[in-house]
């Protein structure tokens, strides 16, 4: 219901720069996830959007209203920005009942009593919390507390939702259920959502687009699919994917060749990159493992076998080069066994070893 435009946002804490010239456009109704390791600036960015932190420079526009601008000296308070927020700790007020917690925001907006009651009832009902309305937060389970935080957000129907790792305090199973539920409420309310997490599964499963951040800078903005298939640099490649992507340092075998080598392996990337020194990115499932030698495949030895439900992860080495491969759960390998590996040429990503940026074949 409102788009968000962030322009050249910079935020410093003393000499530490938490955000470096960050620009981002979030479309109305989008579910945008800010993802990154701790200390990357994702929470700072969210708090700047909320108005809980004052950036040093830049501009933030929510809907058609400039809520922050260092040029025009505008700094709207959080209350003026028409947004709702779910905190990592939920920030439920422990001295208020569930109902009063949700009602607080409506009170601030001076909602007439009958409308306020109606809204409360419908929100409580839709979240299945009606029977708990007179309880205090500490009398609820983690999942129920989560729902109250969500109800508090939904009650005032803000056009923008901000969420700061809202699921990180739940156990793994509940987290799965809540993901589905959150997504449902978000799409029903059509609110533009900015969601901070360090959990890539959460990012991948819930978002329409993901922003990967590192040291206060945006590394990549992409849909979950693109993010996985084409990480734009080695940092993102290394960060996304469980188990991790294989990153192998290689050099061009000879001028104008598509073959790359190191002391142990030789891999055909299928085209001729400009760089001579590259880092090859190959997801574990891009390695085709077989017991017999096929065409150009090379021989690796199995160093570890880690069955994991529907798949099995095996660790392989050739010389000093270790790689990880993902194979079907019914395949049987033993440690020390020799196997043959081929790389799926189409799925490989090539990064310039000097700056870590992706290099794509020039299309004619």
């Amino acid at each position: 219901m409102a788009d968000i435009i962030i322009r050249n946002l910079t935020k410093k804490y003393g000499s530490e720069t938490a955000l470096k010239n960050v620009s981002l456009e979030i479309e109305s109704g989008e579910f945008m996830v800010l993802l990154g390791p701790s200390g990357c600036g994702k929470t700072t960015l969210l708090r700047c959007l909320a108005g809980l932190e004052t950036p040093d420079q830049g501009e933030i526009i929510i809907g058609d209203k400039v809520v922050f601008s260092s040029e025009e000296k505008i700094m709207n308070s959080p209350g003026e920005r028409k947004l709702g927020m779910v905190f990592q700790s939920y920030a439920l007020w422990p001295h208020m009942t569930v109902r009063d917690n949700i009602k607080f925001g409506l009170d601030v907006l001076k909602t007439p009593k009958n409308i306020s009651n109606e809204t409360l009832d419908s929100v409580l009902k839709s979240l299945g919390m009606k029977e708990f309305e007179d309880r205090y937060p500490s009398e609820l389970s983690g999942g129920q507390q989560q729902r109250v935080a969500l109800a508090r957000l939904l009650a005032t129907k803000p056009p923008v939702f901000l969420m700061d790792e809202p699921l990180s305090n739940l156990d793994a199973r509940l987290r799965m259920d809540m993901r589905v539920e959150l997504k449902k409420f978000q799409s029903e309310s059509e609110a533009t959502t900015v969601y901070v997490t360090h959990d890539q599964t959460e990012a991948m499963t819930m978002s329409t687009r993901v922003v990967v951040m590192k040291s206060g800078e945006i590394q990549q903005v992409a849909s979950p699919g693109n993010l996985y298939r084409q990480p734009s640099n080695t940092f993102v490649a290394d960060f996304i994917g469980m188990p991790r992507i294989n990153l192998i340092n290689l050099r061009k075998e000879q001028q104008d060749s598509s073959f790359f080598v190191n002391s142990d392996v030789k891999i055909d990337v299928g085209w001729v990159p400009i760089s001579n020194e590259i880092v090859l990115g190959a997801h574990p499932e891009d390695l085709v493992v077989s017991k017999k030698k096929i065409s150009s495949s090379e021989k690796y030895s199995v160093t570890a076998v880690l069955p994991n439900g529907p798949e099995t992860i095996i660790q392989l080495t050739r010389g000093k080069t270790p790689v990880i491969a993902r194979v079907a759960h019914d395949s049987i390998y033993t440690v020390g066994e020799s196997v043959y590996v081929n790389y799926t040429v189409d799925s490989l990503n090539v990064y310039d070893a000097k700056n870590g940026r992706i290099e794509a074949p020039v299309e004619n």
């Binding site: 108005g51 000296k73 308070s77 209350g79 920030a91 937060p137």
Partner: protein
């Protein structure tokens, strides 16, 4: 050019935002008010000692009122009377201070170890009894001591000691260094006990266990592991306790004045009574300096800022206990006996004595309720009616309750606001300054603090009227003297309220006032109430702080009791002190009850 105007605009709006922020406004106001109420009185006191006063004309021909002079300092330090005025009281102060602190710390240390680290039985009810001597007014213990060891040599009726043994106690046991040191130690050992118990509770029992495994005996462990680890806290406790003892006024006065034994604190009072105001102020400054030095030393020993001082009501300690084996019951017996003698016996003695018609004469026929319920009788106690018919006492009771409750409420709320600013504006140097200033009253010996207010509010200054003799002044000084404690309680309460709780309300659009009222206040309320109760009890038993500021119309129970003791009406003074003791114990019980009944849901989520 446009850049310049826009910069000015930015500057203006930034200033406006800064100025209109309610937290900043509160910060500025509090800084100014506290500077006036805490820092300025000290300067005023020092200035007073360095200028000629009106009354000095009779002391020196050179006196020009209002002019600068070293006269008072020279008079105190290098004149024929300095021996009597300064050096001998100073020596007495240091001697009684050191002896009582050593005693208090030894008793407190041993008891703390027994309660915290051993498996001595009966801890649950011994602990509150052991803190009793610190809860009741200090001069209750002095009065109880007098009841037993009073010597007829200084006049009056014989004490219990003489009545039983038939011979008068030696004078050194009745008055002077020995009784003052012992009674001070009895009053302050719970303070030392709490400090040491706090340190002991932080010991990781694994340290001791590993020594146990390597084959060390229990005593060796105590000597080589436990003691060295708590040693810094011990030293700090020593200095803090010492700092407290030197500011004591009523207790050394009752047990010293009859034989012309003075400490610096009693000398301040005596000099003011003689009209030697400037000399009294010099002594007050000296007292403050000693206190500052001792606190400074103790801070050097305690690195952690948070443990700058402790208040009664420590936490529940749970660590691995040392098995006393066959010594369990003997140790218990000794501790229980000790607790009875120092905690309960004094109160019993006071109670018995308050119903004796003729003081010091022990027999059933001598018992009377006159001092409690009797009407005025010219033959008894100069016609002073009993407690329940005595308008003086009833007025004093009313004043006491009014003073204690008003001060407690005001101090707690201001303390909470200061604490809020200190915690939420931790990066603001002004907030830090506010924290420091609010702590300063802790550094002033209470009688010196009273002397400061005496000089500051004797005459009207600008819009501030001469508050001397008013009830307002008593409230003012009580509030300011409680601030170090209430700010600390407040800081604990505010720190526990997650910043997110407020931010959630901020995002919902609630103003600062609404957030403080609906989020901060309710959540801090349990801590606030117990802080209020601590202040209530503290103000109620306070004497040294206000003794210099009291006038007949503003008398409270403690000063009335002190007055009766001075006049030799022991039964009445005992009765009054007993009332204060019972009220403070009741207060502590309520406090304990609040702590126990604190809503569990708050504890979990805070």
């Amino acid at each position: 050019m446009s850049n310049l105007t826009s910069q000015k605009k930015w500057f203006d709006s930034a200033i406006r935002r800064l100025l209109l922020n309610p937290v900043n406004i509160a910060l500025a106001i509090l800084l100014m008010v506290l500077a006036y109420l805490v820092l300025w009185p000290f300067f005023q006191l020092v200035i007073e000692t360095l200028t000629w006063g009106e009354g000095d004309r009779r002391l020196s021909r050179d006196a020009v009122p209002g002019e600068f002079t070293w006269f008072h300092w020279l008079q105190a330090t290098a004149s024929p009377i300095s021996e009597k005025m300064l050096y001998s009281p100073l020596l007495n102060t240091l001697i009684t201070g050191v002896i009582s602190t050593v005693l208090a710390l030894s008793a407190g240390g041993v008891l703390a170890w027994c309660v915290v680290r051993s498996n001595m039985p009966g801890k649950a009810w011994l602990q509150p009894v052991l803190t009793l001597p610190y809860i009741i007014p200090s001069f209750a213990i002095a009065l109880a001591w007098e009841t037993v060891f009073r010597s007829p040599k200084v006049g009056g009726q014989p004490g219990l000691y003489e009545s039983i043994l038939g011979v008068a106690p030696p004078e050194w046991l009745s008055y002077g260094t020995v009784p003052i040191s012992i009674t001070l130690a009895i009053h302050y050992f719970p303070f030392a006990y709490l400090l040491v118990a706090g340190a002991l509770a932080t010991i990781d029992s694994q340290m001791e266990e590993s020594a146990l495994i390597s084959g060390a005996g229990k005593l060796t462990i105590l000597r080589k592991i436990t003691f060295p680890v708590v040693a810094p806290a011990f030293v700090a406790a020593f200095i803090l306790t010492f700092g407290k003892t030197i500011g004591q006024f009523a207790l050394p006065f009752l047990l010293g004045a009859p034989v012309q034994f003075h400490t610096v604190a009693t000398m301040v009072y005596a000099n003011l009574a003689l009209g030697l105001d400037s000399l009294a102020f010099v002594l007050a400054v000296i007292l403050i300096v000693i206190s500052l030095i001792s606190i400074w030393l103790s801070n050097r020993f305690i690195k952690k800022k948070s443990s700058r001082f402790e208040t009664i009501g420590g936490k529940g300690f749970r660590s691995r206990e040392v098995n006393l084996g066959q010594w369990r019951w003997p140790v218990f017996t000794v501790v229980a006996l000790f607790a009875f003698v120092v905690g309960i016996l004094p109160l019993i003695l006071l109670a018995i004595q308050s119903i004796m018609l003729i003081d010091g004469f022990y027999g059933l026929e001598n018992l009377t309720w006159h001092f409690w319920t009797g009407k005025s009788n010219p033959d008894i106690a100069f016609g002073e009616p009993g407690v329940f018919h005595n308008n003086n006492i009833i007025g004093a009771t009313w004043n006491t309750l009014k003073l204690a409750s008003l001060s407690a409420v005001i101090a707690s709320i201001i303390g909470l606001i200061i604490a809020y600013i200190v915690v939420r504006r931790a990066d603001n140097p002004l907030a830090n300054a506010l924290d420091q200033i609010a702590f300063i009253p802790f550094l002033f010996p209470t009688i010196a603090f009273g002397a400061m207010y005496l000089t500051l509010f004797a005459e009207p200054v600008g819009p501030i009227p001469a508050l001397y003799g008013t009830f307002t002044l008593l409230v003012l000084i009580s509030v300011v003297s409680r601030l170090p404690y209430s700010v600390k309680t407040g800081v604990t309460a505010v720190t526990q309220i997650g910043k997110e709780l407020e931010e959630a309300a901020e995002v919902a659009g609630a103003s600062w006032g609404m957030r403080f009222r609906r989020i901060v206040m309710p959540l801090a309320s349990s801590g606030l109430t117990s802080g209020m109760m601590v202040s209530f009890v503290g103000v109620m038993r306070e004497l040294s702080l206000i003794i210099l500021l009291i006038t007949p119309s503003t008398r409270v129970l403690m000063t009335a009791g002190f007055g009766y003791a001075e006049e030799g009406l022991t039964q009445l003074s005992n009765a009054l002190v007993l009332i204060v003791a019972v009220l403070t114990i009741l207060g502590e019980l309520i406090l304990w009850w609040i702590g126990k009944g604190r809503m569990t849901r708050l504890r979990e989520k805070l």
